[in-house]
């Protein structure tokens, strides 16, 4: 597979503080790559370095084979950035916005008009292309924000939390658009706070924490390597008995009638403690690790709390 994004030893310091330590990452053509991490993990700084917005303190970034420092314009031409903020002009129409951003990338004349119409179609804003953006809903603005990043048909689309604050319908629309772009050969780097988004959308994931990638791979690989050996004990009995059983087993977290354990208990005392409360064990099995569990296992924090 051809590498579209290659980060080698990429790092950024702000004074004595290392915002990103030393990052190695490769994203292949036609891949949706998720960058997952809490606020302050270094996701936006990484994106800023990859897009040539911020100069790295060390390391290199290559976009579609072009070094972002040495061949800056060729590398930037290959990137479409969808910032976390609604980076569009409210006092212009969608068509004026897209025309301006297209012109920044050297598009002119009929080609520009064609690309603008295509991007309006992706954002499903064709019918409102000539109305001011200001009164648009958050979802419509998010879609335009996405369209502005891809009007010049980039090789690599960098989406920095592109669904913040949007309604489910618009989120679904953005997901569909991103999948369609991937199917058309565009590579997508996607950052998010939302585990479920990354799980649903991304082919591969890197988890960042405190300026470093702590794990990367497909979801299945991450689950296998970092999911841990959690157990589920499903109970039967009245509410008081189940509550007492949850209190009796060390490290158990109650989820309805199920007790979840991150660490395998010593069986005999645990079963005795449960039975002493009057509750009965209905089922006992391994717990499937989701991305949240993987993140918890790797960083010791839940993503939302980090």
């Amino acid at each position: 597979m051809t590498a579209v994004l290659e980060l080698v030893g990429l790092g950024k310091d702000y004074g004595a503080r290392g915002a990103v330590k030393s990052l190695d990452l490769t994203v292949s053509r036609g891949e949706i790559f998720g960058l997952l991490g809490p606020n302050g993990a270094g996701k936006t700084t990484t994106i800023s370095m990859a897009c040539g917005i911020v100069a790295p303190s060390r390391g290199t970034a290559r976009i579609a084979g072009h070094d972002i420092a040495a061949e800056s314009f060729a590398a930037r031409r290959a990137i479409g950035l969808v910032p976390q903020e609604l980076a569009i002009y409210d006092d212009l129409t969608p068509r004026q916005n897209l025309t301006f951003f297209g012109e920044l990338y050297g598009l002119r004349g009929a080609e520009l008009a064609r690309r603008v119409d295509w991007a309006l179609g992706v954002a499903e804003l064709g019918e409102r292309a000539d109305e001011l953006v200001k009164p648009f809903s958050g979802g419509m603005k998010r879609r335009l924000n996405l369209a502005a990043g891809l009007v010049h048909q980039p090789t690599l689309l960098v989406c920095d939390e592109p669904t913040v604050g949007v309604d489910p319908q618009s989120r679904r629309h953005i997901f569909d658009a991103i999948r369609a772009l991937r199917d058309g050969g565009t590579t997508i780097l996607y950052t998010s706070h939302y585990m479920e988004e990354v799980e649903e959308l991304c082919d591969r994931v890197a988890i960042m924490d405190a300026g470093a990638v702590v794990a990367s791979g497909t979801l299945a690989e991450l689950q296998a390597q970092h999911g841990g050996g959690g157990l589920e004990i499903e109970l039967e009995g009245d509410e008081a008995a189940i509550a007492a059983a949850a209190a009796a087993v060390t490290g158990a977290v109650r989820d309805g009638a199920t007790l979840c354990l991150e660490v395998r208990p010593t069986w005999a005392p645990a079963i005795a403690a449960i039975e002493a409360t009057g509750a009965r064990i209905k089922r006992l099995g391994s717990r499937r690790a989701d991305l949240e569990t993987v993140f918890l296992g790797l960083t010791g924090n839940r993503l939302r709390d980090a």
Binding site: C51, I79, L81, A87, F100, F101, L104
Partner: protein, 365 residues
């Protein structure tokens, strides 16, 4: 890059009513207000300035109201002298700044104005307001209404320098307010940088395959153009609406105006470089621009300020710009040579602001 950005900025500005209010409505209101205040007989002056006056007894009936108007204005105190020569001697010696000669043939209605004797070699910042205010007062006293007829012809005390076009109070208030509010383009420009940062469009611009210097130039160019148009429109309104006269070279006036607009835009970059939020820009920028305008003589002519403050006024571009404008508006036949220093100073300030702004501007903040 330059044309798309210019087009985009103008589209955005066109839809922002605050810009029209700040750049056009406010200065026109100030010009009108101050123009009529300067013409008003009710104004008060802290210190009356002595004016030498010689009037031929043959025209005493016509000249008495003029002397009374000057005295009554509280801006001036008439010092009666014995002859035209004495008026010129006092002005030439520097004993008095200005004198008036109303000879036996004084009859402005028939094209025979009096003489306003003044040291034309002095700073136009000094002579402009004097000529404007005295002409206005004398014209009003002669006509009993507005200052339109030519009642006094400015005349050099030593008879070696070129004479100056007569002036109304709008010769002062139009350039004063045009420069004051022309510099408000700095605020508009700085706010546009902050807004781009706040909305994230700045990150998009930085990610585009465009050199950063070009990004800055493209961002600032529309404001320089807008500032030039703004000051131009204010002068046009001053000339057509308020009878302001332009005695000197129009091309020189345009070059100076472009310099003022560039200077204001570069100041906007400095303000943007030293501020990180729109609130900071609004407060820091407004205070800075108003103080510079005040010191530079936009609100109160530097003529009326103490000598030291008059000199301090030249530490800001406003003072130089006004020197240039007063010369070009008031001095008949004045051209590039007469305003070379003000023009050089204004462009020098623009360059200095641009250097400071570029050096301090953080692209990736």
């Amino acid at each position: 890059m330059l044309i798309p950005t210019l087009k985009k900025e103008l589209q955005l500005l066109r839809r922002d009513p605050r810009v029209v209010i700040r750049l056009m409505v406010l200065p026109l209101a100030f010009i009108t207000l101050f123009g009529f205040v300067f013409n008003s007989e009710d104004r008060k002056a802290a210190h009356a300035r002595p004016v030498a006056l010689w009037a031929d007894p043959a025209v005493a009936a016509r000249t008495a109201p003029i002397a009374a108007a000057l005295d009554g204005s509280k801006l001036f105190e008439v010092v009666a002298v014995a002859s035209e020569a004495e008026v010129k001697r006092r002005v030439a010696s520097g004993a008095l700044d200005v004198g008036i000669v109303l000879g036996a043939d004084f009859d402005p209605a028939h094209g025979r104005p009096g003489k306003l004797v003044i040291d034309t070699g002095a700073s136009p910042q000094t002579t402009g307001p004097l000529i404007g205010s005295i002409s206005a007062l004398v014209g009003r006293a002669y006509e009993g209404r507005g200052p339109s007829p030519v009642v006094l012809v400015p005349t050099p005390a030593d008879a070696t320098r070129a004479s100056i076009e007569n002036a109304s109070s709008f010769q002062i208030t139009v350039p004063g307010n045009a420069v004051l509010f022309g510099f408000f383009i700095a605020l508009t420009c700085a706010l546009s940088f902050a807004e781009e940062r706040r909305t994230g469009t700045w990150r998009r611009l930085l990610a585009a395959p465009v050199p950063r210097w070009k990004l800055l130039v493209a961002k600032m160019l529309p404001y320089a153009a807008l500032g030039t148009a703004q000051v131009g429109i204010l002068f046009l309104v001053g000339a057509l609406g308020f009878g302001m006269k332009i005695g000197g070279s129009i091309p020189a006036l345009i070059v100076l105006t472009i310099g003022v607009a560039c200077c204001a835009t570069a100041l906007g970059l400095v303000i943007a470089a030293f501020s990180s939020t729109e609130k900071q820009i609004s407060s820091l920028g407004s205070v800075l621009i108003l103080i510079m305008g005040l010191v530079g003589g936009c609100m109160v002519p530097r003529l009326l300020m103490p000598h030291l403050i008059q000199q301090i006024g030249l530490a800001v571009p406003h003072g130089w710009a006004l020197d240039g404008y007063y010369t070009l508006l008031v001095q008949r036949g004045s051209g590039f040579a007469d305003v070379a220093r003000p023009i050089a100073a204004v462009y020098g300030f623009a360059l200095a602001f641009a250097i400071v702004g570029v050096r301090r501007f953080r692209f990736d903040r």
